[in-house]
């Protein structure tokens, strides 16, 4: 992957879903005099549009940390064997017969590439960005997106405290 632009640990990683939550996050960080914070969108990656154009350098894009379309395409291919193996185990456990259409290599190749493009490659890259950012705390409200679930789980796995975004 290309080099990430942030190498120093950040005090706070904040995930927001829209401009209003972004404004709240900025007020929250300002109230702590926190200049080493990174605010990212959580609805879609890359290019998570949160409608913020105020110029605060703490509001960043996932692309700044290597999460971008070209890389997702590449990772989607690279992670193919991982997902193919998991899918085989899933079908075996579900007792799907060998002559089922679900066992067709053609069905599987299009399914796995969709899965990888939508979930697995972004997860790989979000996890790499999280590792590079090394946040000391995560702030995020509960939104039912894959990105939020993944980053919350990362915070737990790295034993990083999690708080809510409150102005």
């Amino acid at each position: 992957m290309e080099a990430l632009s942030v190498v120093e640990p950040v005090d706070a990683l904040v995930l927001v879903q829209d401009a209003a939550e972004c404004a709240a996050a900025l007020r929250m960080l300002d109230s702590w005099n926190c200049t080493s914070g990174v605010i990212l969108g959580c609805r879609a990656i890359p290019g998570a549009e949160i409608g913020y154009d105020g110029g605060d350098q703490r509001v960043r894009r996932w692309e700044d940390f290597g999460v971008q379309n070209l890389q997702i395409s590449y990772e989607s291919v690279l992670q193919y064997p991982v997902v193919a193996g998991a899918l085989k185990r899933f079908l075996d456990n579900a007792g799907v017969s060998e002559d089922s259409l679900l066992r067709s290599p053609c069905l599987q190749v299009s399914f796995i590439m969709q899965m990888n493009t939508t979930y697995i490659a972004p997860l790989r890259m979000v996890a790499a960005a999280f590792h590079a950012l090394r946040p000391k705390a995560l702030y995020v409200n509960d939104h039912p997106t894959f990105t939020v679930r993944a980053v919350r789980a990362l915070a737990q796995a790295y034993r990083i405290p999690v708080g809510a975004v409150v102005a």
């Binding site: 290309e2 640990p9 609805r43 879609a44 990656i45 890359p46 290019g47 692309e63 700044d64 290597g66 971008q68 379309n69 070209l70 890389q71 997702i72 395409s73 590449y74 291919v77 690279l78 992670q79 193919y80 064997p81 991982v82 997902v83 193919a84 998991a86 899918l87 899933f90 259409l101 290599p105 053609c106 069905l107 190749v109 299009s110 399914f111 590439m113 969709q114 899965m115 493009t117 939508t118 979930y119 972004p122 997860l123 790989r124 996890a127 790499a128 590792h131 590079a132 090394r134 997106t145 894959f146 990105t147 679930r149 993944a150 789980a153 990362l154 737990q156 796995a157 790295y158 034993r159």
Partner: protein
Amino acid sequence: MRPVCFLTHTGNPGSVRRYLNTSAELIARGIPIGFIDVDGGGTAVLNQEVARAAVERCWLEEAFVSAGTPSGASRPIVPELPGSDRPLFRPAVGSLNFDSTFGFSDTLAGLGFDGSPLFARLLAGHAETFLEYLSVAREVLGRVRPGCIVFDLCYTYGVAALIEAAREAGIPTVLMQHAAGVNAFYSCLPDMADRYVAYNRYNIECLARMGVPPERIWLTGAPEGAPTARGTAERAEVLRQLGLPERRKIVLVALKPAREDFSGALRQWNSALLDAVEEVLLQDGRFFVVVRRHPSDAHHPSGAALPMSAETIARFSENLRITDAEDPLEPWLHAADAVITLRSNTLVEAVESGVQVFLVDHRDTDGWPDWERIPAFISVPPAQTREYLRLLCQDPPAEPRISPDLRRRFIEQFGLNRRSDSAARLAAEIAHVIAVGL
């Protein structure tokens, strides 16, 4: 005679050009040919390339345009979490740490990631969509009755459904990859075709890692016709056609994609390279600089932006040209005395053309062949770009020379190996398969 069908999807011009060259040889053998525009994205490029090549229009099936589901390549990435009773993640608290190097398999284990809820939620819907596509694919192949299908790697619903329908009907499939052929990372994908076209030894190595045995690989070289002869008279004619000056040193600068849906880092690399070119070469009246925009910029609205400021372009109008993103590379290579490129397939074609090549190397090696194994080009660290450009400016140029033997070995391993009979050899292989089967 049953026809050969070429699948187009997002309209890669390189693939279409190879298809058209092969088509001409097939038609000469009395084999009808046609195109199936899988997802409605290839028609415009096909029409453009047919016009450019001045070949007879072949028939076109627009297979899945009415099916409505976009291809995986163009689907917007909106990873909303599908509903499920089972959690996707069961992280083990404190199982990961920042002291170690990032490794995805370790991370997946630490997250307790379980893909089963995604499979359970998504697979049935996917199978339903795939069946819709398969129904269309069966209908199209039943009507067209092709003797062979040729495609390149992009496993959208449409392409995958057509391959499935072809397998059911016993129709042979051939994979002919765009650009410099099957790369190492494609080896992660399953073996889906009956036959594979390789352009070089590296492609064969990668296909072997995919599990493809040698007897299913056709080593033909890229079917694009022989490279143009590079004699003095021919070059003078190319310079005249391109409107380039004869008595100045032509330097071709090949850029990365600048479109906004690609990484901003690529645009920064372009800018840094162009800054160095402006500072060293554009100030020197002995040079004429051609800036080649990346072909993929032609297929995105943001790619239309010029890579240099209007002021700079106007200031250096006497010794600067910026190409259209869709322009074929070969004439510019033919005209060039030197090529400066970031990591891209331009490097392969430039080495093959015999021109001196400078790679400004940002070490972005993901997905690229290990070209450094046979260094038939000069690798330049980005921070030293200006120094190397100044070597070019010395008279005679002081850059290191590449030996012919090194260049020959590079081309055998990584080159397109275009020969005058590549398309004919490929057409002969396809014709044989149609005539006698696999």
